[in-house]
């Protein structure tokens, strides 16, 4: 028979387990502290309002200006656009997967979603750069093709796996009796899905939308390759933009000290966006849990 472990060893290892569990707590604290420690001073120096609502971004030169409003707008417009196309497509795909598709096709489609989720964001960006951007340039007459529209197209595809996956799970969790009841009452198949199943799965679908929004707001490398990186307030879908994430990643490697700390400031603003989204997500999930109990 194998020898039992020494008592002291048991206690030590137990402590190691507990410390490992604590690593994620420590990480969250460290990330929050350091992002704000590096990001808040430059915001304070410029002035909160001038930093967030200022429309001029001139990080270098005699009289540098740090207004990130155009970047915030670009992030918001890009995300909203991605949700506008991504949510219906994602939701319908989820409905197909959970309610309509034969097992074989559902399996194949699920494989596609997994691949879509796994493909690196640079590959999305590269596809955008070599296919979507030239298309927009030649067919839609945008000067370079790098545009808000290109960003929206790529982001729409990138949020799909999140939306489909979580919506499908919550659609599947709707009890079979709901469907049977509706059908027995004479509702058609689609009436059952859209008036009974989807409303019952609403909290999960809402959560998927919030998570997808988080992904779109935070996406960097795919966006940087197609957005044009010009921090101006966009007037049309065909204008080049520079969302917060792209602005940080594009400049950080060659920014001077003042410029770099302004980029940390953008990071802090972005982080606040993400925290707010997480709070919304928690509220959505909690409400659904409360509703079911």
């Amino acid at each position: 028979m194998a020898k039992p472990y020494h008592q002291g060893f048991e206690k030590t290892i137990e402590l190691v387990f507990a410390v490992s569990a604590g690593v994620s707590i420590i990480s969250v604290v460290l990330i929050t502290v350091y992002i704000f420690a590096a990001g808040l001073p430059p915001i304070m120096k410029t002035g909160v309002f001038r930093f967030i609502l200022g429309t001029r971004w001139k990080p270098v030169g005699e009289n540098p200006q740090f207004g990130i409003f155009p970047m915030i707008l670009a992030s918001l417009f890009g995300t909203a656009g991605a949700m506008f196309t991504g949510v219906p497509i994602g939701l319908f795909t989820a409905i197909l997967l959970s309610e309509l598709a034969p097992k074989r096709i559902a399996c194949l489609l699920r494989g596609c979603m997994e691949l879509l989720a796994g493909i690196p964001s640079v590959v999305y960006g590269f596809f955008g750069l070599t296919v979507i951007v030239p298309f927009i340039r030649t067919r839609l007459g945008s000067p370079t093709g790098n545009s808000l529209l290109a960003m929206i197209v790529i982001l729409s595809a990138m949020v799909l796996p999140t939306i489909v996956n979580i919506s499908e799970t919550s659609l599947r969790a709707v009890p079979m009796e709901y469907r049977e009841g509706a059908l027995a009452l004479g509702a058609s198949r689609m009436e059952t899905i859209f008036k009974v199943v989807v409303p019952a799965a609403k909290p999960g679908i809402a959560a998927s939308v919030v998570l997808g929004t988080g992904r779109a707001v935070g996406e960097t490398m795919a966006v940087i390759m197609v957005c044009g990186n010009i921090p101006r307030i966009p007037r049309s879908l065909l204008d080049a933009v520079s969302p917060m994430t792209a602005a940080i990643a594009k400049d950080i490697s060659y920014a001077g000290p003042q410029h770099r700390s302004a980029l940390f400031g953008i990071g802090a603003v972005l982080f606040i966006f993400i925290v707010v989204l997480n709070l919304v997500l928690n509220a959505v999930v909690k409400r659904s849990a409360g509703g079911r109990a």
Binding site: S20, T93, L115, L211, A249
Partner: protein
Amino acid sequence: MNRKRRAKDLALIIVIWMFSLVVVVFLIWMVFSVISGGLAGISLDFIMGEYNLHKGRTGILPMIAGTLILILCTMAIAVPVGIFAAIYLTEYARQGFLVRAVRFATESLSGIPSIIYGLFGYIFFRNVLGLGFSVLSGALTLSIMVLPLVVRTTEEALKSVDPGYRESSLALGASRLYTTFRVVLPCAIPGILTAVILSMGRVIGETAAVIFTAGAVPRIPRPDRVLSSSVRTLSVHLYLAALEEADFTGAFATGTILVVIIAVLNFAAKKIARRIERRSGQE
């Protein structure tokens, strides 16, 4: 059912199928356009060659090495920590404040975008701890990033182990730790393997968090200072080749290799998942 309702039903079904078709077409279009542009650029010389723009050499051996090194180091940190954390959560901890805090932290971590990880790694590991652009900075940053994935997947694997095994082992007089290591963990190995594969995929695909921490030096690091040297991964290389170095042949070929690696990893993860399903079906 009257005719109008039947027509409405049919119309909706068609719309649903068409929307889903859009997804598939987009995926095929993307994969096809990258691979068709990249296949011609892949040769033995490309895969095994050094990278030196001045000499016109654009091989990606350094990037392959860099990617592998970064994967190994990240896994060496994240896998043990993640497994231990999952063991603590499922086998030891009582439901309470600490468990809730850990769960909240893990969920928060998975919602943080990679650019924030990159910034954090840049500020904390590179500047505050003075690790510079290095494999160590990169691996530490990426470890935090993949930690939620490892913890959650391992937790699920541990939870799915039949409680009867645990109880029998404890009833035979084995200690809790002995039960965990000798009985529970072996049963959970396929699930843990899935966690490892999925997080490998994350490391391979990551760019923003890597370029800020591990840097982008396209050279194989010297064996005696692997941890402290900067490396360039395949994803970072794709970004730089396409945007800064205007080497589109190389970018296409690198993209192709990335897509193939991800497809293989996905397939492997699916295979393992199916085996787990089949096994639990037998019980």
